[in-house]
Amino acid sequence: MGNVKFHHVYKYYKGEPIPSVNDFHLDVADGEFLVLVGPSGCGKSTTLRMLAGLEDVSQGDIYIDGKFTNFVSPKDRDIAMVFQNYALYPNLSVHENMALGLQLRKVAKHDVELRVNRAAKMLEISHLLSKKPNQLSGGQKQRVALGRALVREPKAFLMDEPLSNLDAKLRTQTRTEIIKMHGQLQTTFVYVTHDQTEAMTMGTRIVVMKDGRIQQVAPPQQLYDEPRNLFVAGFIGTPQMNFLQGAVVRQDGVYYFETKRLKLRIPETYSVRFEASGANLRQIVLGLRPEHVACGNDAPEAWADWQAAAIVDMKEPMGSDTFLYTKVGEETLIARTDAHTPIRVGDSILLALQMNKAHFFDLESGVSLSIPGDRA
């Protein structure tokens, strides 16, 4: 019912040589929670605004519900949008704010009442209906904005960084509510954010964008486990994935990853792939998530050839666990360890780099060398 299709969509702005949205090609299934994520200026908001009809499409087609929608005016697209700054009409009460869209569509009065009250109840804002937006807190305003979208019962909900103006606690709370709302409605959601935590927790599928281009489209876990390139690997996950630059060396049929100070054996599973992809012993980037860097003392024997000496530079206790920022030569490696670790800043420790969990990327193109070709 509410499927959306982008067919090679481009957006050019006047006087800018590079398109803001470059060949955006994607199918969004009905009922999907799609999250567009990327750094600011990556074209994610522009894509959403094109879908809403607030920006013209320069090239390519957009289909909503199977219908060609490029030239349909925003009000006829049957979509609702939630904005970052809430965009509530300041001179209207909460009730009027929520009802306006229905009144303009000539929905019968009793039906308007019914829908507004139902949405207000769902979002727990029934007691605010008679208030004006300037009497509300940020969180309440955003609920009203959600309510305004909700009453419309649209084919798709578009959300443009709706949580960015809220404080941390409210953000988490509202996030859960939006997820619940999606669960109840089973409508298509397209959600734009620059916050990868939001993307990971909310999306059923995530689109990572950079410079107007799609970098990867995948469900959250797959995005985390199998980033397609350096950018995605670095963007998803906090703290960031560790990156080490080095060379692939072959000795006696075994591949090694070699930097100035380290020489780590590469597991066979990767070797096979290297040979297949023809990686000819060039410079590559090794990527390793903090949870795959163990403090050597509690590492199993099997990881013996993956060890590196390091000095603890900084300690970041998170409560549930602790991140150690360690120096291996001039490179910084972040390791995740137990919350109650006795290790202190300045200690020399042995790190075990779990090479069987490592990612390898081409230095120049940034493309992953460790994901099987058909998944990449």
């Binding site: 809403a52 009809g53 607030l54 005016s73 925003p74 009000k75 979509i79 609702a80 949008m81 904005f83 970052q84 700054n85 965009a87 009409y89 300041p90 001179n91 306006l100 869209g101 303009l104 569509r105 305004r148 419309r152």
Partner: protein
């Protein structure tokens, strides 16, 4: 030293508990303010009072008998207030060809028509210039800005040619039309509407609102302060304008109050008797201005803050 000063203030105002409290409050405030602030406030108060002089003078003048009006040196305060001036104003006019009330009526009509049309034109133009994308927008905006730079006198001949060419001499339109194209109003409106977040308009578009709906229901309520400002500016300009009466109208019945007041004193044959009438009339002229300003001053300050015009 501070203590003795407090004591002195306290003792001197002993019998009045209210003023005592005031004094101690003042003293407490004085502790927080620097000498610079105190001097500044005293200085500004003095300037403020000085600025008030003409208004005090105006009020007093209106009630002065004829002999006091011609006193030399002139006095500010009236000694023997009288209503005679107002009596003469109405009597004189009734005996003349055109009664005072006709001028008043003309002024009311002209001001109302102009206010309405200027607000309509400037808000609409401001909305389109601020929130719509179209060709030559910057060119149009710069033309409007350019027209701000001409002193009105420099274009009075072309304006006369236009008004007479349109056959509008001796009509109300001659008074109204030259004011409708108000670059100041358009500029102010544009600046103010620029501040309205785009998201608000986009949300309305998605809600299914058309341009007219957005303009009347969303933009207009939000820019009420700017409308108030424009109203004051336009009101003063139109209400005090004499160009319409002197240049574009020959018929006495189509002239406005401002012209009438000035003719009272400018008319050489009647200059002595005219003085008293003019004094009364000047007060009557001033009062609507004052009311307009008091009504809208808060909104006006808001506009100045928002539009970055100071």
């Amino acid at each position: 030293m501070g203590n003795t000063a407090t004591e002195r203030i306290n003792t001197s105002t002993e019998p009045l508990p209210n003023s005592k409290r005031m004094a101690s409050r003042l003293w407490r405030w004085r502790k927080h303010a620097s000498w610079f602030q105190v001097t500044l406030i005293v200085f500004l108060t003095a300037i403020g009072l000085f600025m008030l002089l003409p208004i005090i003078f105006l009020f007093n003048n209106a009630f002065k008998p004829l002999n006091e009006l011609f006193l030399f040196p002139p006095t500010i305060w009236v000694k023997e207030p009288t209503m005679r001036n107002f009596e003469r104003l109405f009597l004189h006019s009734a005996a003349g060809v055109v009664p005072f009330t006709r001028y008043l009526f003309n002024s009311v009509i002209v001001v109302a028509l102009t206010l309405f049309s200027v607000i309509m034109a400037s808000t609409m133009a401001g909305y389109v210039l601020a929130k719509h994308r179209f060709h030559f927008k910057t060119l149009i905006m710069s033309l409007i800005m350019l027209s701000l730079m001409f002193a009105p006198e420099t274009v009075s001949i072309p304006r006369y040619i236009m008004v007479s060419g349109l056959g509008m001499t001796n009509t109300y339109f001659a008074h109204v039309l030259p004011f409708i194209a108000s670059p100041v109003a358009v500029f102010l409106m544009k600046q103010f509407i620029d501040q309205v977040p785009d998201a608000l308009i986009e949300a309305a578009k998605l809600d299914g609102a058309g341009d007219m709906y957005i303009f009347t229901r969303i933009i207009i309520p939000l820019i009420a302060p700017a409308v108030a400002t424009i109203s004051i500016i336009t009101f003063q300009a139109v209400y005090l304008d004499m160009e319409g009466s002197t240049l574009y109208t020959q018929k006495e019945t189509m002239k406005t109050l401002a012209y009438y007041v000035s003719s009272l004193t400018a008319n050489l044959q009647n200059s002595v008797a005219g003085q008293s009438i003019a004094a009364a009339c000047a007060l009557l002229m001033f009062i609507p201005n004052l009311i307009m300003f008091l009504l809208f001053q808060r909104k006006m300050i808001q506009t100045m803050l928002h539009s970055g015009v100071k």
